[in-house]
Chain length 138, copies 2
């Protein structure tokens, strides 16, 4: 909670577009990971979530708050200070995220390989209707 979040904690060449697993909406899992180490402020979260706009971060956090995944604490200070923290429920997602990451480590290369092979294969214009009866199109 003390040290700032690593701006590089999420790979910009993120293979998430290839990941067949998604937790919540697009940013939820990353927010959970950002909050894993303790409470964080709004603008603190924006650092590793590069490219997220305040609007979308607000939406994400509100939705998570609604679902009981995070708490929001606003302090009547100046300048304003707001802190977000995982609830026990939100923390329970960590095991699921870990499972997803384990799957990724074990199987994502195979998926990407299959995809690359498929994409570079000669595109059949009328796929396999005329293929031999037992051919596999994979």
């Amino acid at each position: 909670m003390a040290e700032p979040l690593d701006p590089q904690m999420f790979d910009p060449v993120c293979p998430s577009s290839a990941m067949p697993i998604q937790i919540g909406d697009r940013w939820t899992a990353m927010v959970v990971l950002c909050l894993e180490g303790g409470r964080r402020r709004f603008n603190e979260l924006r650092v590793p979530l590069r490219g997220i706009t305040p609007k979308v971060l607000t939406q994400t956090l509100r939705a998570m708050q609604r679902d009981g995944l995070v708490t929001r604490t606003a302090y009547d200070e100046n300048p304003p200070r707001v802190e977000y923290e995982l609830t026990a429920l939100g923390r329970s997602l960590l095991t699921l995220i870990a499972a997803a990451r384990a799957w990724r480590d074990d199987h994502l290369p195979a998926l990407l390989e299959a995809r690359a092979a498929h994409d570079s294969s000669p595109a059949p214009s009328r796929p396999d209707r005329t293929a031999p009866p037992d051919s596999r199109t994979a």
Copy 2:
């Protein structure tokens, strides 16, 4: 593989809209579950996936095939017959789906409860800016 798929195998009042976990696109996980018991034909898959349009099912299956999750076997018969089957990679998603289901069983009620409580709570027009310094808005 022999017995037909249960049309009710996916709850129409599906809480998937509340599920913060998603495997692949909207239908991928359900397709994996449909194929868990063995190969299935196109129209066989449409039964439990009530409401899916052929276009979307085709898209889903093509994407899964591209990613090496399923194989597609077309037989030169009449009427045409096409069978889809899980690959080892596709089967590996089953553990992840099981983890998601376990999370659901353990935690989804709490999430829904939090959501209901949030939705029925008196909506603060100017949320908690004027709240006491240590109040939690959850």
